[in-house]
Symmetry: C2
Subunit: 361 residues, 2 copies
């Protein structure tokens, strides 16, 4: 081989090698993308915090560690209610929370968390994944450089903890209650005072009397916070949060840097976490509920039918009014309500008719 | 540079290049694993067939083409009801169907598809993913070399198509009806004759009078098959299939050959497909239902409350008896019923109470 041939070959191989080096890095065991996920939940909090961990783990495993997502509990990196800003700024590449926590910044976000007398978990997934909801949600968060995805669902939440019986709508008057989002606006219309507190601050506030009442999630979570130690009556159903969708927030610039397969992995991991969390709540809530009733002598009560009916009237008014406050909320509301109307019709002959046939009241 | 230095450098780069070539192949567009997925559905059939396509696509995308799954409709490679055998033999690495189609081989499989007066979609996911169901399912299919996963859910199905009104339980007597699985056994107990037909054969059988009645899925699918052209009355709710789980079957030997990240991708892709399908049905069924009523003059009717109550009594008897026929079914039944009992209690204060508050009957 002559020198010039060797040099030619060398040049060729060098070119090939330089092409190959990019894939090599992608294949390496050490992470190519080190991401932080900030959350609104206490670290490892059952269901919510562990749901955020689950999302991170799915990404880590499916990407073979090419992305490594590290999860931070509330206050570890930023405060519980600062998650949205942190992801928007790029302080963290991902976040886990719920849309109503930052309604001051993006009011339309509330519709993707929970709407009083709105969509159940199954219906939320129908609207978001297959009914045009996701496109609107992404449009609403685009100005903040955030891609939102459903990242968990609690199912129908409970109606809340009280220290007095709720016999008429008037019993809500003057009540200082921890209740976020649109549900809080409805309480205000009913004469109460809604308070926004992150989960970790609810129990001390209820125990000290800083608030009179609270809702949180459901038996599995409410027991974990020990709410039964500070209130006696436990009401159902959660008219204000019928299928709360938690959100996985992704910083768009960070997302755009990923190759297509990792983008698909991140987005699908949010779907897996969304499904896993609802399954967990469905499997765990009843044992906790029975323990609350039996071991902790909690008094489980339904809201009177008339109170629910009045709350529904108020809710429909309040939600319609709130939706008129900005253009994005208007668009989201129109889509949401159209979906709800058809979901009510469909589930009248499917889910609702079936549940009533299986367990006649 | 001297020749010997050039040669040294060349040797080094060649070594590096040879190391790099392995990752290169992994990264290459050509698949490392070419898989076939056989299905019980007509190719591209809305919801079911497209759901199988969705599953394949998720795997292809998340793996960056390292696995390429090609989907075959019923009869393209094997018959609709031969999917289980084909995956067991390894003729295909994956399959998409439902557990009641092969109840002759593995009776316990029916519990993972649909049980009369059993679990809804949300509850099935709760039981399977978080309530011990998946472990039992995988145990039941292990002797066949198959790993099962939920691969789609239709939600509550419709009660079926009839050419006469169902006023009393006696109206089911002598009826030749297409209805698979445990629902079919209940029909038999009520004096009817259950017939097992794959979806693609239902319409001609109903039109020719080979069967008197049929159930299939719900408005979105039933309209696609044109069932309204051969029957007039459309009953609800689907007491026999309250949340039908479709199954993704994976040949265990093929699965074991995958590296861990691809295994995670395959399993999570089934979860994504499972969630996507239910979202699609939830979003599409109502428009189809309204079209059936308005455009095709279908008469939508509820089963009389007494008929549902009698069917529930029969169902509980039949399911308990069927479960005693083999050891695996016994174990699965015990787990299923325990989960159902607690799900009924929990959903009485959550999903059911909420649906009734939102839409009082």
């Amino acid at each position: 081989m002559q020198l010039k041939d060797v040099i030619k070959k060398l040049a060729l191989i060098t070119t090939v090698a330089s092409v190959l080096f990019t894939p090599l890095i992608v294949q390496a065991a050490s992470a190519e993308y080190k991401w932080k996920m900030v959350t609104t939940w206490p670290k490892n909090f059952p269901g919510l915090g562990t749901g955020a961990n689950d999302l991170a783990n799915q990404i880590n495993e499916m990407s073979n560690g090419r992305i490594q997502v590290k999860v931070y509990g509330a206050k570890e990196l930023v405060g519980a209610l600062e998650v949205f800003d942190a992801v928007s700024r790029g302080t963290a590449e991902m976040g886990h929370g719920a849309g109503y926590y930052w309604k001051g910044k993006v009011p339309a976000g509330q519709f993707f968390a929970a709407v009083p007398f709105g969509l159940t978990a199954q219906e939320m997934n129908g609207w978001i994944y297959s009914g045009g909801g996701l496109e609107l949600w992404q449009e609403a968060y685009a100005p903040f450089g955030i891609i939102p995805m459903p990242g968990g669902n609690t199912g129908v939440q409970m109606g809340g903890w009280f220290n007095k019986e709720i016999k008429t709508l008037d019993d809500l008057k003057g009540l200082k209650m921890r209740i976020p989002g649109l549900g809080g606006e409805v309480l205000k219309r009913a004469g109460g005072t809604p308070v926004l507190l992150p989960g970790g601050e609810i129990f001390p506030a209820l125990q000290s009397g800083a608030i009179d009442a609270t809702e949180w999630v459901g038996p599995y979570n409410d027991m974990a916070f020990g709410l039964y130690k500070a209130a006696k009556y436990y009401y159902y159903p959660g008219w204000h949060e019928p299928g709360t969708t938690l959100e996985a927030l992704i910083n768009k610039k960070a997302f755009d840097k990923l190759p297509k397969d990792l983008q698909a992995i991140v987005l699908n991991a949010t779907k897996v976490a969304n499904s896993n969390m609802l399954a967990e709540y469905t499997a765990r809530n009843n044992a906790a509920l029975q323990s609350l009733i039996t071991d902790h002598k909690v008094k489980l009560l339904p809201y009177p039918a008339e109170v629910l009916s009045q709350l529904k009237t108020l809710s429909d008014e309040v939600v319609a009014e709130e939706a008129q406050k900005d253009e994005m909320s208007k668009k989201v509301y129109a889509s949401y309500i159209a979906f709800r109307d058809q979901a009510v019709d469909w589930h009248a002959v499917s889910e609702q008719a079936y549940l009533n046939a299986r367990n006649p009241e």
